[in-house]
Symmetry: C2
């Protein structure tokens, strides 16, 4: 069975250890998805050493040279206009717009990538604002959350649209058939939270949206996996995501110190090492790398800037799955169903 | 050296396992603070069995009977008016107002306790709104955060006042001499976040507030302990606190499963058990129990409703420290210093 290729536009210059991690990630992804092809944008002098030693990757890759790079500190608006018009990031996004590629993956400046994706792809009909979404481990498997930082303030319309898009993302990324959806709040009673939340709650309760809206959920319900989809504004979502990351770091750091704290504990670690490696794997943030920008008429996936090749390959994997599952068409179809209600 | 007694008004009927945990907590606190006395409000028929077997506690306690209880589900406004006027919670707060007690501790309905404390104590001069504050473990020791849920929306004035109050709380509760203060945001650049945050940031940067204002911090800085004080609005603070609790539960649950996952891991646990108990102690939420309502002209400490006697005793300890250190006078003095700026 031969499949149509998925062509991935890669911004080779984004991320702390670019372009190395980008090429390492592409090599891992190549093995996972044998039909994949790449268009790689960036400084060929820097990319060459990494691709020349990967003959099979070189065969399925097209290199496009530019030495213009959007730095991590650049203001997003600068990425759109002026001398950065030929940046590797911008060229990669435009490759999708032009039909040369199916999706773009970058580990660069999030704000710039979002600004470029918005202005080049534009919004899907019926969506007012894009949302950043990703998935994470919970006690009950995995869940998705959105928005993780695209919109500091959101109205009820935005939140309802996020619920519809999150539901599509959970079906594709988690394989959930009929995802449950919760609206993040400071309590589960109907009257809790500010006006936007109350209005979104009323509309989600009434609208026959795809998936199963269960109402308000609280911060501790995120990690318990109470719902497959966690809907919130970009300010709250960003704080919650980073607070969770910080807390996970804290507990694993305390655990490391514990195992080093005595000779008995060190011995204990030796016995438990195999199981501990499984735990480490389970909580490995690289496994959950790859945040999609939902609501755009194009597929953009943002990799964590500090990840390695393994993590970057997972971000490529998210983009691949979104292309294969036609995420844009599914969002359009689901939105149409809600609006007909 | 004899000290003046600290008299604690206890709402014996608040919390999942009241009044048992309240009396257990009082007994532990009695041993820690030999000069402490209690006024215990609640259903004496239910309290008696727990106090009769603790002779020394009975000697330093005054029981005040009422069979009116504010349930966990009660609307806060109902706790103020009507038939709940004689509730154990209200009588305990009034005991402080009347000068019969120095502080009140309750594990009951948070919203009701806040509403009663506000209406009975009133605000300190110069403070517009109270904030709920508590402390938690970080990689660098302990930090405090506020507001944890009293105010869903906050303006720049509120946030500046929270910074001043959090600084006082950190000095008392953590023993920090010159606490560092951060304003929770979705990025550390000056232009990040909504208007209230920008304005609060500008004013905190200009004002010579006590402590050391270091600017914006992000969600992962909470657990890393980047600052001694984390300032945020009550919506964000509540979400962050509960997200952190949920994530800590997730990692410890995964760790438990890991140790049970094979015979080798179980053996490993046996060797490491002593160190693991230390880790468990370090992360034990009961150790961080006791949230103070700052900004009121009276000292109210809220215990977690699901805690046990050990946790409740720690909430009593927070109240004790706030009385001994004159938290209200310190806030007034610090506020005066800022306003003179």
């Amino acid at each position: 069975m031969s499949k149509k290729s998925v062509i991935v536009a890669l911004d080779a210059m984004g991320g702390d250890k670019a372009p190395k991690i980008v090429l390492q990630g592409a090599e891992i992804a190549r093995k996972r998805y044998p039909e994949m092809k790449f268009i790689i944008f960036g400084d060929t002098a820097k990319i060459r050493p990494h691709i020349d030693k990967r003959r099979q990757l070189a065969e399925i890759s097209t290199l496009v040279h530019t030495d213009v790079v959007v730095s991590g500190e650049e203001k997003p608006s600068n990425a759109i206009r002026g001398p950065l018009k030929l940046s590797s990031m911008r060229l990669a996004v435009e490759a999708v717009k032009n039909g040369d590629a199916d999706c773009v993956v970058s580990a660069g400046n999030t704000g710039a990538l979002m600004a470029l994706s918005k202005i080049i792809f534009r919004m899907l009909p019926g969506i007012d604002r894009p949302a950043i979404s990703s998935f994470f481990p919970t006690l009950r498997g995995e869940s998705v959350m959105l928005d993780l930082g695209a919109n500091i303030q959101c109205d009820a319309d935005n939140l309802v649209q996020f619920a519809v898009m999150g539901n599509v993302f959970a079906r594709i990324a988690l394989g959930a058939n009929h995802p449950s959806i919760g609206l993040l709040n400071v309590g589960t009673e109907d009257k809790k939270g500010h006006d936007e939340l109350q209005e979104a709650h009323a509309r989600l309760s009434d609208a026959n949206i795809p998936g199963k809206y269960i109402g308000f959920i609280e911060g501790d319900d995120i990690a318990s996996g109470k719902t497959d989809v966690v809907v919130t504004d970009g300010f709250t979502g960003n704080i919650a995501l980073k607070t969770a990351e910080g807390t996970a770091n804290l507990t694993t750091e305390f655990l490391k110190r514990t195992f080093r704290s005595s000779i008995f504990a060190q011995l204990g670690y030796l016995f438990a090492a195999r199981s501990m490696r499984k735990l480490k794997h389970r909580l490995d943030p690289r496994r959950y790398n790859g945040a999609i920008f939902l609501g755009l008429n194009g597929i953009t996936v943002k990799s964590h800037g500090g990840t390695d090749g393994f993590g970057f390959a997972n971000a490529i994997g998210v983009a691949h799955d979104m292309v294969r599952a036609d995420v844009k068409d599914k969002i359009k179809a689901d939105l149409a169903a809600v609006e007909n209600f």
